[in-house]
Subunit: 249 residues, 6 copies
């Protein structure tokens, strides 16, 4: 099966890391298709950037529809996820969502560790949107700058491990999510240095996207994720305007 | 003082209604500046459209920054509100937010009545985002089509009154919010036909925007609404890119 | 328009501060009518005193009914607010309520700072009564005595600023409410020494009371704030007994 | 031991019913001391009347302090309970509180059935104040008038049973509380006509008051129920003013 | 009346302590019948052990049915309580449940103090199961080993007092529950060394069990605690299999 | 990889259905190992039976430890899941848990449909235990008897579809979980007759168990799922006693 890894950030180096980490858990026969946003910011870190990234994610999925079996929105705050589920008939999985859901099978409450202080409000909102606030022990983030978003996980490895340890000791987390596309693959490397299970977002998303393809759930024609009726628009990308106008079939 | 009424829908007829209804409660000396989105859909009704409208709202406020004392994001789901509060140093009020907060002073729980079934998921999410789920008795919406978004409030007046009555009788609402920019001004007209207070979103927003200008709260330099540091971007509107890059002063 | 500032504490010095601070945000044409409780304690600080103050607030509003367009119950815990909304047909706003609602437009969560440790349980209960617990980051209070309730804001200014800073740094408050009638007007003075917006309760209440008068919501004849039927009583003030018995028209 | 049954309503007929019903579960050696409010309304049914009743309850307990081992505030909404726990060093139990706590041992969620529609808002607030909203299946009340508060339980017995049955069938209540002082003793009479356990508020309160006296918990000198420091007041009853001023020993 | 004290731990020394502490609050005429589990672990401390203890508790009550008026499941996590309420027609009270419910009458929020770190997850789950999470300030436990479960309360008295003080000072607990069967009777001994009321689980349970017997609630024939229909089983104790198959009458 | 399908019910026919349905989504190379409880009831339906089944599930996993890569507790209420995660170092997944987590990726709220009214309390408790109450729209169950647990899904197919439709129409469910081991495989058969996605519990569990094996999370040595220290016991199965005593390596 083919799974689109849609990175709504503009950094291709991050996309490469996502695909590499995802492949470690993909089943034989699963192909991960990389895609990087053509507009926006190198890495989404605020509510404002997430608003832009949400629109970008919808553009990306609209452009590639018909070429894959499922899609992953590969930024931790799941920009555009709700809208994507309305518009498209293939399964769409968010990276924050998948990480949190898999983490639920590994502990009572999970901690979230990430690389930038500015991410906290956005992350807190996506945790709440998924109804997971009660299972989230804490969100802990780096409070210092870094050189390059592509290599932040190597540069800050020691500090990130320390944050993970603190979510265990101080926040009573049973499991730690390493959050944010730039941290893809880090869980495997530091696995033995943290005393609780670690969850890698893209790996969780690949597992869940594969599972959804295999379970073959139908597209809803009722409920809040049914496809909206056709509608005119102006000024949108051709691909997205076509989907909204039902000119996509 | 000058208050921007930024309508993130593309229908100018709705913008006219918003300004007319707002003027009914504005203080002498307050000027409401109308603005209509240049791209998007005639009226936002789904999560996908809200994602697009969120980006549009940020573009609109970036374009007009420096010309007003406060801004209202004049669509009931408050698209882009969180991001706007990060980026800008003037007060920004959402229409759903203002309606709900004023409604809290008029009853234990409020009902929300609107004109399209497809709005419910988006509205439910904005109610939750504001932490108001516990004060919301119900969201009730029309389940039938209408001819024109500009005149839906006249065409469906009787049915909307009936929905308001049902939120009182069946859902125990103490107050009813008439939600959605296209219903601006309706509350004044039907006031005597519903046995509980009605709240008009744009009127509530004008009241709160004026109040914030008078209270002169400072722009946060700490907390989750502090302004993010400067950042490069690509493919965004010049106005918004400049704000994000701190090239706006 | 005329707005009654009903101070359910017995200290007239506090009433003076309330009116002075309120005038700073009132629109031209708005008159604030001061009133001080004739029985009770100098400043309400406990659940027991709040019970007494609740009855006093109802007495005060009953006595002055017909002379104003709206009333503010000018103690932070909003004593008697629910009962007042049942009995009277003019808008009534609580100072805690107004402060919290305005604070919601300025941040994700607000901190509450006040001048006496004994206030915390009462404040926590009014936060919960308004359904605002989820938006309240912390309640922090002075833990030391003071000389005079009339001048506590000058005497303890430095410590109060320190408490505000701690709600920002330790409790992640995005906005700080300076709570309690004796702190009226302090927000304007220390505005630049706290890195997040400050909210003054009486100013928020004036803004919301004015807004309600302009929005002209009808008195409920259904729902939990409809007026109860006439009832006999014994031993109450004549003014209140008349209202309860519907002898007030 | 001696337990004060302080009825904050002014109807002595209701006080008689309370004592009679309470005696059915009291241990040998327990004496129930009746007391009826000297001011207020015949039966508290609204938030405004509860405010008055809260002050009355504190007056009653202040007047009788030193003559009993524990006190019951014998109105279902527990008027003045929080304040009483601050001021006095003997155990004080609320009738709503005791009924709900005992009901928790008999079912997952309880229904509340009472005799007047106007009681619902007050009851809902006391349920929330006790943190019991999640265990409350529904509050169902009579929607018709009655002849005398003293005999409402006989007059409306059939309708009250019907309401109890509906909380079981429609609201999934596992247990039903017959709420309000005027229904004291009804549970014993209709026990076999409702298929789930019934709880009588005064009986639950007698059980818990007795238990507290036997368990001998100390008066808190820390926490939110520690006694406040002495304070001057004006215009209060001598008994209450003395307690507030610490002139009671 | 006769009340079974069913200790689902295998340590008879603990059973002795339970009965001794319970007798201190029992009414004249109440007999406490001791019973100790015949299989399981000396003291239940984990979710796995609680699963085993739940089955054991049902076996114990099935074996003794018909010989008592009410039963107490005398381990703090209330193993088997829900199932016992389904199967049996006499009142069954859990020790955690009774302690928390009585604690609610003594403070806004209670702290729980116990003797082993491994108990925390189980305790947290039973607090949540009872819907009491909002009233629980903290669970604090010893983090060090002890010599004998029978005498842990003497050996660790000083540390347990220190934990209690910390729940008051750091967690704002108004009342402290000394949790776990091995701490039965400790509250009476250290009462004066903690500034808030202490609650002993077995004493609370005796009070509530007595009260339920006196209040004579009927066995539910509807709702979630109605008795399930007869069912075959295999491999269970004869007593329990008979109850499940309705061969018990 | 090998995944144990541990059915804590005693009906082997149900085990067969579970394995057949699970195979439809298993990856090539995954082997599902069936196991049926040797004691207990044919199908767990009450809290009491769940207590017994929890102990049975631990016995089953203890007996088979070392022979598989992961285990599924194949009854919808996840009996023994928390204890299993403490005791064992391989991943353990509950069927209710997996169904709810996968359902979260398909809708805002899920409905649960099952075959026996007596299941509702147990199901409601496991939903709450997983912190999923906020995402559960309703639990709807058959209210009529059936001939054989092995074939209930064929016998009651029409009624079960009707219940599913009602959770969509009346309860606003976006996705429906067909709950209970006896319904394994039904989702595939009725997929086109319900307008929202259906989730089959065993299929969800297989997907998540496979994913966990691929993600290789470490066994916790800290947090609430760390393995408890060794402990003596009496009267337990040899396999389980050995695990509890750390005699299993």
């Amino acid at each position: 099966m083919k799974i689109l890894v849609a990175n709504p950030n503009t950094s291709t180096g991050v996309t490469d890391r996502l695909v590499a980490a995802g492949k470690m858990v993909a089943s034989p026969g699963t192909e991960l298709l990389p895609m990087t946003a053509s507009y926006g910011v190198p890495y989404i870190a605020t509510r404002a950037e997430a608003a832009i990234g949400s629109a970008a994610a919808l553009d990306m999925l609209a452009e590639r529809r018909g070429t894959m079996d499922a899609a992953i929105i590969a930024a931790f705050g799941d920009p555009g996820l709700g809208g994507a589920r309305e518009l498209f008939d293939f399964p769409v999985v968010g990276m924050a969502e998948a990480a949190m859901l898999m983490a639920c099978t590994l502990g009572r409450r999970f901690g979230i560790v990430s690389f930038s202080r500015s991410l906290e409000p956005w992350f807190a909102e996506i945790v709440a949107w998924h109804g997971m606030t009660g299972r989230c022990a804490a969100i802990r983030t780096l409070d210092e700058g870094f050189k390059s978003i592509d290599d932040v996980q190597e540069e800050k490895e020691a500090v990130l491990i320390d944050l993970a340890l603190r979510t265990v000791t101080n926040d009573a987390a049973d499991v730690v999510i390493l959050a944010g596309a730039p941290l893809a693959g880090l869980a495997n490397k530091i696995r033995d240095r943290v005393p609780v299970p670690l969850v890698d977002g893209i790996q969780a998303a690949v597992v869940m996207a594969e599972g959804l393809v295999r379970m073959k759930p139908r597209k809803a024609t009722a409920g809040t994720y049914r496809r909206p009726g056709p509608k005119d628009s102006k000024g949108l990308s051709a691909a997205l305007a076509n989907v909204i106008a039902h000119r996509d079939s």
